[in-house]
């Protein structure tokens, strides 16, 4: 199967559609009153890293829900060259940013990495993450106490050719 050169319009729309629906679901997930702790505090957020779904992980890590924002620019490949090393970066024009985190929905544990952004540090991070399979990737930016998110689907294919 050869990859199409550019994503034709219909697929692009489906992707965006799916993304926004997912986030809506994310917004009003009724579950136990998770401890509304402050933004990622100094201690290593053990509990958040143990959550399976990204909704729970966001809830445990930030204690509040995110809303999609086009001010959060998430850059990730459409088809990952290799699921073990996927270059991902996020930048944002929001100000008073205190934290940036990445969630890989289809991984065994959704929370992949969480960064504390002290003031004076530019709100942008690039890193390389592992992805188990084709997945939704969510970047969360905490700015002035509110959560903003961007989502992108990354296709991950089985490695190896024959064998």
């Amino acid at each position: 199967m050869t990859t199409t050169t550019g994503p034709h319009p219909t697929r692009r729309l489906i992707l965006q559609g799916a993304a926004s629906v997912a986030l809506l679901g994310l917004g009003n997930l009724p579950f136990g009153a998770a401890p509304a702790r402050a933004a990622a505090n100094d201690k290593y957020p053990e509990e958040a890293f143990r959550q399976k779904s990204e909704a729970d992980a966001i809830k445990v890590l930030y204690g509040k829900t995110a809303e999609p924002s086009d001010k959060v620019k998430l850059d990730a490949p459409e088809i990952a060259e290799n699921g073990g090393v996927v270059p991902i970066s996020v930048t944002t024009t929001l100000d008073k940013v205190t934290s940036i985190s990445f969630f890989v929905a289809e991984n065994p544990f959704a929370l992949a990495a969480s960064y504390k952004i002290p003031d004076g540090t530019i709100p942008a991070v690039a890193n390389r993450l592992k992805m188990a399979r084709t997945t939704k990737l969510v970047a969360i930016v905490e700015a002035d106490g509110k959560l903003y998110s961007a989502t992108k689907e990354v296709k991950v294919t089985v490695g190896g050719c024959g064998g």
């Binding site: 050869t2 490949p77 073990g84 090393v85 390389r128 089985v158 490695g159 024959g162 064998g163």
Partner: protein
């Protein structure tokens, strides 16, 4: 077990038929003419991919796919083979127990010479690859040889490749019938189908570079060894030319030969010679 093998074999033949169809050629006289072979080989790729810059062919799959090239360039800012490179540099200058170092075994102290390997040794009458020369240097100085598929060898060749980066591949075939025979033997191995998949190196790297076989985007055969050794995300580690040959064999379900056996040395000689003029880009990062 039985049905699976037959179905596999059947599907291999369907793939085979599709691939073989594009490869009917008239068989010409059999005088070995490496210069003509190299010219034909390079023109084949230059015509098949007119908008790929000639020196880009050494970037393998990244010369075939823009999105992957972008991912690669991002990684090249701080490449994963950085550690192998530093380890190789350190190993290269650490003296053996007898006080000598690799620099004493190689012309120009081993710096900036990778583009001349492999070479044909007229005394021995065989092809000598860089990996073989490194192990021979170790043995000549009373040290145990390294495995051809493990990290130490990859670190050494990574450092030597790095010191030759950008230099055009410069492989020579001396006027010696045994050298011509080695070149021809390498060419034969390159085009010979093997394994239950019944693929030759050419089935993938000549007939369908840029296409995908399962998840992998296939690299063009032209300049395919210029980036060796490579850090493969697939192996999350370094890979020497030997490791690449051995794994490619087993992926077509052919039992690999011993690393550095004649066929591998000759096919490396053939592939390097036909890439003469294209820049060394090792060590490389690959999917």
């Amino acid at each position: 077990m039985k049905q699976r093998a037959t179905i596999l074999l059947g599907s291999a033949f369907v793939a085979l038929a599709a691939l073989a169809f594009a490869a009917t050629r008239v068989v010409a006289a059999d005088k070995v003419d490496p210069v003509a072979d190299a010219k034909a080989f390079q023109n084949f790729f230059f015509q098949k991919f007119p908008d790929v810059k000639h020196e880009d062919f050494v970037n393998g799959p990244y010369s075939m796919n823009e999105d992957m090239k972008r991912q690669w360039q991002e990684k090249e800012e701080f490449p994963p083979y950085e550690f192998a490179l530093d380890a190789g540099k350190e190993m290269f200058s650490t003296p053996f127990k007898n006080g000598k170092t690799y620099a004493d075994c190689f012309p120009n102290g081993g710096i900036g010479i990778r583009q001349n390997y492999p070479y044909f040794d007229t005394k021995e009458g065989k092809v000598i690859t860089l990996e073989l020369a490194l192990n021979r240097c170790r043995e000549a100085n009373g040290e145990a040889p390294y495995s051809y598929v493990k990290d130490e060898m990859a670190s050494l060749t990574a450092y030597m490749a790095y010191t030759s980066r950008g230099k055009p591949m410069d492989i020579k075939i001396p006027d010696d019938p045994r050298a011509l025979a080695a070149f021809e033997n390498g060419k034969r191995y390159f085009y010979t189908r093997r394994g239950q998949m019944n693929f030759s190196c050419a089935s993938c790297h000549v007939q369908s570079p840029g296409e995908r076989i399962r998840a992998e985007t296939l690299a063009p055969a032209l300049g395919i060894l210029n980036a060796m050794p490579i850090y493969r995300s697939e192996w999350s580690g370094m890979g020497t030319t030997s490791r690449r040959f051995v794994t490619c064999n087993s992926q077509t379900r052919a039992v690999p030969l011993e690393p550095q056996s004649d066929e591998y040395r000759d096919v490396e000689y053939f592939l390097s010679y036909v890439a003469n003029g294209l820049p060394i880009s090792g060590p490389g990062a690959r999917p």
